[in-house]
């Protein structure tokens, strides 16, 4: 397949995954900061909930990377 298209796909994979993570963290992050302000002992739990959606962007990274591997073997656009 066209290397350029693959590169765009890789960019979309990580970019959209990043947006997804951002949307998810917006809620958990605000709640975690609130909970920690009320009781500093909540910090650990807060970090866990905060960090859960991060996995999404890691998925995005892995897919983008695998796609990029494809791109290096594909013919470049003339």
């Amino acid at each position: 397949m066209d290397a350029g298209l693959i590169a765009i796909g890789a960019g979309l994979a990580i970019g959209l995954a990043g947006i997804g993570t951002g949307i998810a963290q917006q809620g958990t992050g605000a709640a975690a900061v609130g909970a920690t302000a009320e009781d500093p002992k909540m910090f650990g739990k807060g970090i866990i909930f905060m960090a859960l959606p991060e996995t999404i962007v890691i998925f995005g990274f892995v897919i983008a990377f695998l796609l990029f591997g494809l791109a290096s073997t594909a013919p470049a656009t003339p």
């Binding site: 002992k41 910090f43 650990g44 739990k45 866990i48 960090a51 991060e54 996995t55 990274f61 591997g69």
Partner: protein, 669 residues
């Protein structure tokens, strides 16, 4: 190291007159965790504070008010003050200072408020001077009203259209106008309405006669004199701070400790003539405590080991983590999550092993590594002088920095994002070769061997979480056999997934290495069966694990089934090690290339100096961002992926009676 320190529950019983001595020795020992007494029996009540309590609290109250008036909160005394000295002199000092400080502060207050008042006067006079009229023109009329002040919009035209005898003086001033209006008293209301509509603010002259210029200068003279007195007052307050600061802070500390001691009886049981203190002491220190109290309080006080059962101990004992000196800073990370339960495995040592390793792998740069070591030292030795948590943070940063430098020197071969040697694939890339020839070549190119880096992350996931399940198994073994079995099945599934991933990645160097060790023996076992490859082993392990869920939980295992996918997500989650390492490396490389290509190649000295400044700023940015995100991600992998496999938390920390003296010291008896 592995489990928290064993505790004994003890009771200290004695006559009431010995209570003071016993509490005193417990505070000195710093070994005894009190269990708060709850009143149930009408004959046994909560104790009442020691006699000295109210007297000491009074002193403390006065001391704190003096300390606040003198603003001693940020005073740094040069030396500690002996307790004997405090007790000898403090009463006299309190009596003297109580009067002196309040007098001086009051005096200072009066002076500064008078200065403020005169300064406002001058501002007003300065504004009125604009009109050029003597001050007595504004006052003392029988039939005229005078308005002086500021308005937002011009009012002159509006007032003139009223067609009445009026004199309007108007000058532009700041955003609006300054006005002086002289009108007949019967027209006062109409003029006021117009002014109010335009945001009128009245200015009243404090002097009612003479020239405004003279008035201002006489005010200024007075302000000058007042400022001199204010300086003198400040100096005398400063001299009080210097003279008594150390003593006051030390006394405040000493009497806070005394008040805490005096109020300890509120936490214990007492009858009319005796007392009982209930609490926990580390098993290893029990004899020392018994001996020390025995020698201080005599035979009248008995100490009894209550010999609680192991179950009661597990349920109620406070948790004192015990780790060696190297691992101890990492207790902070565990405590931040939650204090482990008493009978639970303390993960501090594993965090100590894993955190710096992950952190170092993500940074993976000799330059940043050495900078981190330096930064950690600054935290430890300079900023952390008064703060234990900053010192701890400093030690953690140093540990991470050592690993980062190690990986930078021996694995990735780069410093500040610049490789020691240009990669073979791209010999034109800038490198440190222009400055020196580093003897070692990198084992891995961070930005080229990304696949190897990803496989390393997966191997880290397997080892780390595998440990998690093994610890979980031992945690649950004496507690809940079913849960312990579950950990084994999860361990099987983890291995199945790992073997399948190795099978896919066996053509990489790291993947091939682990494939040969872990998976190849299985492969030779299944190969004889026609058409089977290693995937069948992997699937077999996963299916066995899932079947195990149903054996243990029956139909309820369907819920666990969902979790299998999240285990896969957990494994993939470790690829953040590679992701952050690569992203940070790429960012540094990009900055370096931009600066080197645009600033350094022309040979223009000014451009080179400018380029150096830009480069330093950009490098600082990469350093700060990289260290922060690596730190957060490294601890997250511990908290989310690792701890959740076994850690319960929610224990009660061991908080013995005791104190820490910063400003005062007790001479050895």
């Amino acid at each position: 190291m592995i489990k928290p320190e064993r505790m004994s529950r003890i009771a200290i019983v004695g006559p009431r007159k010995k209570l003071d001595t016993v509490i005193h020795s417990l505070y000195e020992l710093n070994l005894f965790h009190v269990v708060d007494f709850v009143e149930e029996d009408p004959d046994v009540k909560i104790g009442s504070p020691l006699e000295k309590a109210s007297e000491v609290s009074q002193k403390l109250l006065k001391l704190r008010s003096i300390i606040r008036s003198l603003h001693l909160e940020d005073f740094k005394p040069e030396s500690k003050v002996k307790v004997e000295e405090i007790e000898k002199s403090i009463d006299q000092v309190i009596v003297t200072l109580d009067l002196e400080v309040s007098d001086k502060m009051e005096n200072r207050q009066t002076l500064s408020s008078r200065i403020r008042e005169l300064e406002t006067h001058n501002e007003i006079l300065d504004e009125i001077r604009e009109f050029g009229l003597p001050l007595d023109c504004y006052f003392g009329y029988d039939s005229l009203s005078v308005f002086t002040g500021t308005v937002e919009e011009s009012v002159r035209d509006e007032i003139i259209t009223l067609q009445m005898p009026v004199e309007v003086i108007q000058k532009p001033y700041e955003d609006g106008y300054l006005v002086a209006i002289f009108c007949k008293k019967q027209n006062l209301e109409k003029i006021r309405d117009i002014l109010n509509e335009n945001g009128y603010q009245e200015i009243l002259s404090p002097c009612q006669s003479g020239d405004s210029g003279k008035c201002i200068s006489s005010n200024e003279k007075e302000i000058g004199k007042l400022r001199e007195s204010l300086d003198r007052a400040d100096k005398s307050i400063e001299s009080l701070r210097k003279k008594y600061g150390a003593l006051l802070l030390a006394a405040e500390e000493h009497y806070s400790i005394e008040v805490r001691k005096a109020e300890t009886p509120l936490r214990i049981a007492a009858t009319a003539h005796s007392f009982v203190i209930d609490g926990w002491v580390p098993k290893s220190s029990y004899e020392a405590l018994k001996e020390s109290i025995g020698s201080n309080a005599g035979d009248a006080v008995t100490i009894e080991d209550l010999s609680v059962t192991r179950e009661q101990e597990n349920e109620a004992a406070p948790v004192k983590l015990r780790n060696n000196r190297l691992a101890r800073p990492f207790e902070m990370f565990v405590e931040l999550m939650s204090t482990p339960l008493y009978n639970e495995f303390d993960p501090t040592f594993l965090v100590f092993l894993v955190f710096p390793l992950f952190f170092g792998l993500m940074i993976g740069d000799a330059g940043y590594g050495f900078c981190l070591i330096l930064a950690g030292w600054v935290f430890y030795a300079k900023l952390g002088r008064d703060s234990k948590s900053l010192r701890t943070l400093g030690l953690i940063i140093i540990a991470g920095g050592i690993f980062a430098a190690f990986f930078g020197l021996f694995l990735f071969g780069e410093a500040f994002g610049l490789p020691f040697h240009p990669p073979i694939e791209n010999p034109a890339e800038p490198s440190w070769e222009f400055l020196f020839n580093y003897p070692l070549h990198p084992i891995m190119e961070k930005l080229i061997d990304v696949k190897e880096f990803l496989v390393i992350s997966i191997v880290a996931a397997w080892m780390h979480m595998g440990f998690g399940y093994i610890i979980g198994f031992f945690n649950e073994l004496h507690h809940d056999r079913k849960q312990a079995m579950m950990k084994i099945f999860w361990f099987l599934i983890l291995n199945g997934m790992f073997i399948q991933m190795l099978f896919v990645a066996r053509w990489t160097v790291v993947g091939g290495f682990f494939f040969d060790i872990i998976a190849a023996p299985f492969e030779s076992m299944v190969m004889p069966f026609a058409g089977m490859n290693l995937s069948f082993v992997a699937i077999g392990l996963i299916v066995t694990g899932i079947a195990g869920f149903f054996v243990v939980h029956g139909a309820g295992a369907a819920m666990e089934l969902m979790e299998v996918l999240s285990l896969l997500a957990n494994i993939v989650s470790y690829t953040r090690l590679a992701a952050i390492g690569v992203a940070k490396g790429a960012m540094a490389l990009a900055f370096n290339t931009i600066v080197i290509d645009n600033f350094f190649h022309g040979g223009n000295v000014i451009l080179i100096i400018l380029g150096a400044v830009v480069l330093i700023v950009l490098q600082l940015l990469v350093f700060a961002l990289g260290s922060l995100s690596s730190g957060i991600q490294a601890i997250r992998l511990n908290y989310v992926e690792f701890f959740l496999k076994f850690f319960k938390g929610g224990g009660v920390s061991f908080e013995p009676l005791g104190y820490e003296r910063k400003y005062s010291e007790k001479s050895e008896v």
